[in-house]
């Protein structure tokens, strides 16, 4: 009985301090990521016909070229910046959370085994914006530039 009464406040204390710690960690994490996104725009953009909100998993499937169609059945066209460049690397690591070398390998396996296609490589962010605007069902990303007002920004959930 006595032991039980002694233990209880200790456990309460533990769970209290644990939740405090977690709050602190999540605060730090959130501020770290919001700091990052303040430095680089890092936005996923899409043609006006594409979806507005997609999940992180769906985005990964689109960029690993496994998902070919939107929910309405129309085809997806995927644009990327130079796959060997720093901006693609940032997108791959920070938005997709996939190592760029694995993304490249996934494309190569699809292309050279006949089971899929590679994304379309564009030369610059300017070209990315104009190709996404003019290609129905397309999706792309920009890292350094601001999203123009007439281009759809995709929210990742």
């Amino acid at each position: 009985m006595k032991l039980g009464r002694k233990k209880k406040p200790f456990l309460t204390y533990c769970s209290y301090s644990l939740s405090r710690c977690m709050t602190l960690v999540s605060l730090v994490t959130v501020s770290f990521f919001s700091f990052n996104s303040a430095v680089y725009a890092q936005d996923v953009i899409a043609n006006s016909s594409s979806e507005n909100i997609i999940s992180a998993n769906t985005l990964r499937q689109i960029y690993s070229m496994r998902l070919q169609t939107w929910r309405d059945g129309s085809g997806i066209t995927v644009f990327v910046l130079n796959p060997a460049g720093e901006r693609h690397r940032k997108f791959s690591l920070e938005i997709l959370n996939v190592f760029p070398y694995q993304l490249q390998r996934a494309w190569d396996v699809l292309v050279f085994s006949g089971t899929g296609r590679s994304p379309v490589v564009v030369e610059s962010e300017q070209e990315m914006i104009s190709r996404v605007k003019s290609t129905p069902g397309s999706i792309g990303y920009i890292i350094d530039s601001e999203v123009p007002l007439d281009v759809k920004k995709v929210s990742i959930q």
């Binding site: 998902l67 997806i76 796959p83 060997a84 190592f99 390998r105 396996v109 050279f112 006949g114 899929g116």
Partner: protein
Amino acid sequence: MLKKLVFNSKGRNILMLLCLLMIFSMNFAFAATYKNAQLHGFVTQAYSKTNANNFFGNSTGKGSFDYSEIGVNASVKASAKLRFAAQLLSRRAGKIDEGDVKLDFALIDYRIVDKSSFGLGLQAGRVKNPFGFYNETRDVAFTRESIILPQSIYFERTRNVSISSDGLHLYGHKQTSIGRLNAQLVTALPRVNDDNTEYALLNGSRPGSFRAKPSYIGRVRLESNDARLSAALSYVNLNMAYEPTTAEAAALNVSNKTDIQFDLRILSINYNLMKWSFTSEYAQRRLNFTGMGNYISAPVNNKVGESFYLQSVYRLNHQWNFLARYDVLYSDINDRNGELFAQALKASDAKNYSRFSKDFTVGVQFNISQRWMVRVEAHEVDGTAWLPTQDNPDPEKIQRYWRMLNASVSYRF
């Protein structure tokens, strides 16, 4: 060396072929995607030097340039769900492959269901055989970590039977809370109509011919959502018959009802970090001959073979990769050192070391650009189980311990 390459006629041919291909590919490189069509390709030229035993041509002595891989493919989208794709492949690998252009795959692909939670698709035509981590793209340097794939599982001898087959390929995936579950099933006729199959299975070019029978290849693969961890189970069951000529049947006691079955199971695991990748595969196989008379001696028939390798890659940066691998093949799991085999075939001077191979490999890769890559690797091998017979016709010259140095240049578009 370079002088020799440029001035002897064989070397000049190789160089000219490469130059032509580069020019050809350059033209397409900047227009690889045109409307609904995509065009891609790859080229690898390798050099091999061994201190004993031949691998990829006459590699002893001054070494050999008889290893190249050239592929071109097109994929045309007819609609969001319907696609056509085909690939031509020309490969030179010593006496195993002599550069003839072959149809690697040619298929029609239809996505029946295409959602992020669940997907299902069907391919018909000549399809690639999905097993292990590397089989479908074993000829594409950019999808491997080394010039030569771990030979214990992806050995040269039987490659033509195992790369692609004619039939149906059903594939699908299901998104689960722990990751993505992929399943593939191929039911098809294996490609058995060439000399290589005879070399691989009957140890030489033979008067009769093989006939393919319905075969099955399946793979289930689980991949974590961030693609860091991946594990797969593969099952291969290839079936064929051998049709001997009348004279052959009489002389070698070959039955008119032969049956050849090849079974292979592979467990594959891969873990990736930013700088490191670890890959391991473990396989067991069985090759069973029925009615093949004097072609197959009892000590080699219907044995369970075992293979495994451990491989690690260190990525110093996006340009430099380093590889280390230990790769082991046993032809008979109950006779790993081949002593029983040597004893049973004492009369024909069979060597125990032809029943295993242990290969320790180190390699370095330099990515010059997105499209160009250079590799150098060194092998230290004990045993000759995966040594191609075609390149080593004289058993007297085969040695148990041997070394190999390979270098390669690869290009893709």
